[in-house]
Amino acid sequence: MPDLLEVKGLTAAYGATQVLFDVDFTLAQGQITAILGANGAGKTTTLRAICQAVKTGGSVLFDGQQIVGKSTEAVVRLGVAQVPDGRGTFTALSVEDNLKLGAYVRRDRAEVARDIDRAYERFPRLKERRNQQAGTLSGGEQQMLAISRALMLRPRLLLLDEPSFGLAPLIVAEIFRIMRRINEEEKVSMLLVEQNASLALDLAHHAYLLETGRIAISGPSAQIKNDENVRRVYLGY
C-alpha cells in the first residue's frame, strides 16, 4: 500500500528565518509516526508545514496528491485534521458547538450526529459538559475536546501537536490509550509530535528525531527505544 504521507525536501520559514531544512519522512497507512526532538527543533513547524500554515518549500504528497501551495482549508478538506498545540478550542463556544465545527466540511448530517454521540461515549466527561463553554473546561478535558473535534472530520490523517503538554500523567495515559484504540479500531493514521519521548515511543510504530530543523535519526520506535546511545544522547533518559 502506498504511503499516506510522503515528505521530501521539506523546508519551512517564518519570514526570513528558515526553520526546516530538507526534511524527508514518510507515514504509512494505518500507522502512528512520532516526531521527537528538543524545544525549537522544528517539530511544531513540521505539522504546520503539512497544514500549509507556514511558508513551505519542497514536496508533501498526501495520498499521492501534492499539497504544498494549497490553503490550510483545502488541506483539511482532503482529510487532514490537526489537534494544535494549546488545544485550539473555540473557548467562547460550547463543547457541542466545538464538535459540530469539527464536522463543518461534512455533508452527511445523520452520520455527524452519530459521531458526536460516539465522541461522548469515548469521553463521557465531554457529555457532562456538552453545553458548557469550552474555555471553562480543564486542560485534560480541552485536550479530549480537541481530539474529538479533529476526529469529527473523519480524517484519514490526524496530526497531534504535543498532546501531553501541561496535563497530569493519569490524564495523559488515558488519552494515549484512547489514541491507540482509535488507531487500531478506526484505522486513523497519526502523526504525533511530542516532547515526552518515552510516551511517544510507546504509542508510535515509527519515529523520527528532529535536531535544529533536520532529521537526525529515524527508525522503528522499538529500535530507537532500545538503543541506549540514542536514548541518552538525544532523548535524555
Binding site: 497544514c51 500554515a53 490553503s71 490550510t72 482549508e73 483539511v76 478538506r77 485534521a81 490537526q82 494544535p84 485550539g88 478550542t89 473555540f90 473557548t91 467562547a92 463556544l93 458547538d97 459540530k100 465545527l101 469539527g102 463543518y104 466540511v105 473535534r149 479533529a150 472530520l153
Partner: protein, 290 residues
C-alpha cells in the same frame, strides 16, 4: 410630561437606527478587528439605489429587499477585492483605505444622483399603525423593522452552520482554518451582512432626514458612540448602546444643551467612553501581549 414621553419614544426610534449602524460596525469589528469608517456612506449609497428603483416604478417592499440583496453582494465584493489585499497591513493602512471608500461612495453618490435633497417614502405613513401623540407610525415601524433585523441576524448567527462558522472564524481564525472554514469568505460575509444592515438603517432614516449624500455622517457618529458604549465587540451591547444614545441625544438636546449641539453629545460620549471605559458597558477587556 407629554413632551418628555415623546422625546423618549422618538429617541427610541432614532435609537433603533443607531443600533443598526452600531450593529453593522460591531459585525465588521468582530471579524476583522477594524472599524469601518465607510459604513455610513455605504448605507447612504444603498438608500440611493433604493430611491432610484422606486423612481423607476418599483413598489416599496420589492425595492427594499432588492436593495438589501444588492448591498449584501456589494459589501461582500468590497471585502473580497479591496480589503483582502490589505487584511494583514497595519491599522493606518486600513484606516486610509476605509476613508478612501468613504470618499468614493460620497462623491459617486453626488455625481450619479446629484446633491439636491430628495424625499424618501416611508412604508409606514400616517395611520398605518397605532399612532399617538407620543410616536408616529413611522417611528413605530422603524423600531419594528430594526427588531426584525436583529432577530434575523441573531437567528442566523446562532442557529445556522454558517453563522456558527462565522462566530468561530471571528474568535479564532487559526483554529477555524483547521476545521476547514474558509476564513476569508467569512470576513466577506460579515461585510455583506454589515452592508445589508446599514442599508436598512439608511432606508429607515431617509424619510425623516431626507435623502442626500451627506445624510449619514451625523448618524454614523451616533452609531460609533453606540457601538463604543455597548462594547465594540458585543452585538447586544451595540443594540442597547444604540437605544441609550438615541434617548440620551433627544433628552439632552431638548432639555440641556439645545438641538444645535447634538453632535457634540456624540463626540463627548465617544471621548468619555474611550477614556474611562474603553471596553464599553458590555465588552470584554482587551489584553495586549508584549
Amino acid at each position: 410630561m407629554e413632551a418628555f414621553l415623546h422625546q423618549i419614544f422618538s429617541g427610541l426610534a432614532n435609537g433603533g437606527i443607531y443600533a443598526s449602524v452600531a450593529l453593522a460596525l460591531v459585525m465588521i469589528y468582530q471579524s476583522t478587528h477594524h472599524i469601518n469608517f465607510a459604513q455610513g456612506e455605504m448605507a447612504m449609497f444603498s438608500t440611493f439605489i433604493a430611491w432610484w428603483m422606486m423612481q423607476a416604478g418599483m413598489p416599496y417592499w420589492v425595492a427594499f429587499f432588492l436593495t438589501i440583496a444588492i448591498s449584501f453582494a456589494g459589501g461582500l465584493i468590497i471585502q473580497r477585492t479591496i480589503l483582502k489585499p490589505v487584511e494583514k497591513a497595519p491599522v493606518l493602512t486600513n484606516v486610509i483605505v476605509f476613508i478612501g471608500l468613504l470618499v468614493i461612495f460620497n462623491s459617486v453618490a453626488g455625481w450619479v444622483f446629484d446633491h439636491t435633497i430628495k424625499p424618501f417614502p416611508t412604508p409606514f405613513p400616517k395611520g398605518s399603525f397605532i399612532e399617538s401623540r407620543y410616536f408616529s407610525a413611522h417611528e413605530v415601524g422603524t423600531v419594528l423593522v430594526m427588531l426584525c433585523v436583529l432577530a434575523v441576524l441573531f437567528s442566523f448567527l446562532r442557529f445556522t452552520p454558517i453563522g456558527l462558522a462565522m462566530r468561530a472564524a471571528a474568535q479564532n481564525p487559526e483554529s477555524a482554518r483547521l476545521v476547514g472554514i474558509r476564513v476569508s469568505w467569512m470576513l466577506g460575509i460579515g461585510w455583506g451582512l454589515a452592508a445589508a444592515i446599514g442599508a436598512v438603517a439608511g432606508m429607515m432614516v431617509a424619510p425623516i432626514v431626507f435623502l442626500d449624500p451627506n445624510m449619514m455622517s451625523g448618524i454614523l457618529l451616533y452609531g460609533f458612540a453606540a457601538a463604543l458604549l455597548g462594547g465594540i465587540d458585543n452585538p447586544w451591547g451595540a443594540v442597547i448602546g444604540g437605544f441609550i444614545v438615541g434617548v440620551l441625544e433627544n433628552l439632552l438636546g431638548a432639555y440641556v444643551i439645545g438641538t444645535e449641539l447634538k453632535l457634540s453629545v456624540a463626540l463627548v460620549l465617544i471621548v468619555t467612553t474611550l477614556t474611562l471605559k474603553p471596553n464599553g458597558l458590555f465588552g470584554k477587556a482587551v489584553v495586549t501581549r508584549v
